[in-house]
Symmetry: C2
């Protein structure tokens, strides 16, 4: 029942405890052939200098999803509710915030062509961090954000197989090869993240060790002084190197470009075209990149929400 042992129409404050409610954002993107998550660096205790998911309090009279969109705009400069945003899960364990009782609703976003991360106005740094680096380099994440991130990575990995979610990491118009590359990258990086998370994740509670300043700053930052500038999200295709060489990890990804199970181009083509309503042809053709090759057809995503049959990762050759 709703009102628990209450018989009058409105509650008195003694009947239930007060909670603070926040939204946390998991902003995924594929930049420079790497699956990334937007993290900010905290400049306040607790967890000062740790990384954390962006987020903030839900306002009074504000819907949860509205709050998530608002925070997304504030943190990424995305206007007008473009891209994909869905509720992931709610985290509300009693001890998860040392200061007070906070219930946090996590939202999951998949975005293309994000502008440079913006600090929220305060002295705060933000970065699109490659997810594969998070278990390895033992980046500290504040609160229970590591658990939240792992849940989100699992969800992402599952969801691209049976929904058109992967298209959200591509531009408005894209080629089948771009889409295939997105699948390759997400399957590769999520698999690696989850493998790393499994071993590295000693399942200690959220506030485990004292934060280490040194390891909390393994990347190069772009402190941004200006307040949130709303980059509008229209750029030409093949904007395939916005953050290149900026993070210290990009080169690493290149070196590790050893073999991982990529999808077969021919079979992938058939798979996606076979799902009726998944891809809508535009009639246009892409211009081949610098290295030449036949121009590819451009597609937009249809209005389907379930792919059947699903797009599956290639089995690891036994």
């Amino acid at each position: 029942m709703y009102p628990c042992s209450v018989t009058n129409t409105s509650y008195s404050s003694s009947d239930y405890p007060d909670f603070a409610v926040t939204v946390d954002l998991l902003v995924f993107s594929v930049i420079n052939k790497t699956l990334r998550i937007l993290l900010i660096q905290r400049d306040e205790d607790p967890f000062r200098y740790s990384w954390a998911l962006p987020g903030g309090f839900v306002h009074e009279e504000e819907n949860l999803e509205s709050a998530a969109w608002r925070e997304l705009a504030e943190e990424t400069g995305i206007a007008n509710k473009v891209g994909h945003l869905e509720q992931l899960r709610t985290y509300g364990d009693a001890g998860r915030d040392p200061r007070m009782r906070v219930v946090s609703v996590a939202y999951f976003a998949a975005e293309y062509d994000l502008p440079e991360p913006q600090g929220g106005g305060d002295a705060k740094y933000a970065e699109h961090v490659p997810i594969v680096e998070i278990p390895n380099k033992s980046i500290k994440l504040a609160f229970d954000h590591r658990k939240i991130l792992t849940d989100a990575v699992e969800r992402l990995r599952n969801k691209i197989s049976y929904t058109p979610l992967a298209t959200q990491f591509c531009p408005e118009e894209f080629t089948i090869a771009q889409l295939r590359s997105t699948y390759d990258i997400i399957w590769r990086d999520t698999e690696k993240y989850l493998a790393g998370a499994k071993e590295h994740d000693d399942l200690r509670g959220p506030a485990s060790k004292p934060f280490e300043l040194k390891s909390a700053r393994p990347h190069s930052f772009q402190p941004v002084a200006a307040p949130v500038a709303l980059h509008l999200v229209t750029q030409p295709l093949k904007s395939e190197a916005p953050l290149a060489e900026k993070t210290s990890l990009s080169y690493l990804m290149q070196n590790e470009e050893t073999s991982y199970a990529k999808l077969d181009p021919g079979n992938f083509q058939r798979s996606v075209l076979q799902v009726d309503g998944f891809l809508e042809p535009t009639g246009k053709k892409s211009s081949p990149s610098t290295s030449g090759g036949r121009p590819a057809e451009l597609f937009t995503v249809g209005n389907l929400d379930q792919l059947s049959p699903p797009i599956r990762p290639k089995k690891p050759s036994k």
Copy 2:
């Protein structure tokens, strides 16, 4: 970030609004060859005499999941955290409770062999309602509970295909035929519910029409005076008619037992045994039911959490 434009270690109450946090329960069960959901009938405004999901406030210092287990025990008499309980989704729209701002975390439970529903102690009726009746007979659901139920039904339908969830509706030891019947019932009833929800669901907001007392009481009730009696959950197999003839709908189900796409016994057998670790043989055999037949092997569920390949519903013959 967590603290939003707050620089000191603890928050002052002006920085964020207060919310009440509740858990709502979606207790599914398969009783008398029918998929059912536990609903209570409200005896207070708002939505007096409407049906609602059971639930209640989260206590201070209590984890969300603990609150859900506590409420489940209170509402169903289930002790000791048996069965399946997982978080579904959080509902927190600003206007969803007319009295105050309530954020409600919905939890999804799949239970076998539930005792008769117990009122929470107050004058409150509870019943395991067949889900197929909810759209048809236009049973009034309070708040946004119809939306929550529909989300849960979709989740249930999806989840039995790629997890061992369906086994949670069976006894500890079960035959493959029992499991197959569970799949048949869930696929049949969820399909029917969702079809009905699609048309009946004029997408008006939560508080649509005034509640009608007559249609809010289409079933026969079992008012239970005693406080929660903790039925322990061990009964022999084939307890296949606990609520028989009690609800006014049981016979309807029998009559409507016209053809729906049932799974092929032979192929189903192979499907489930093929998934390694799904079913664990016990060595024991069931005694054939009254109608005779070869005794079947008894199985328990393994400790797998993903079925691959998934168990799929039979395609409707085109």
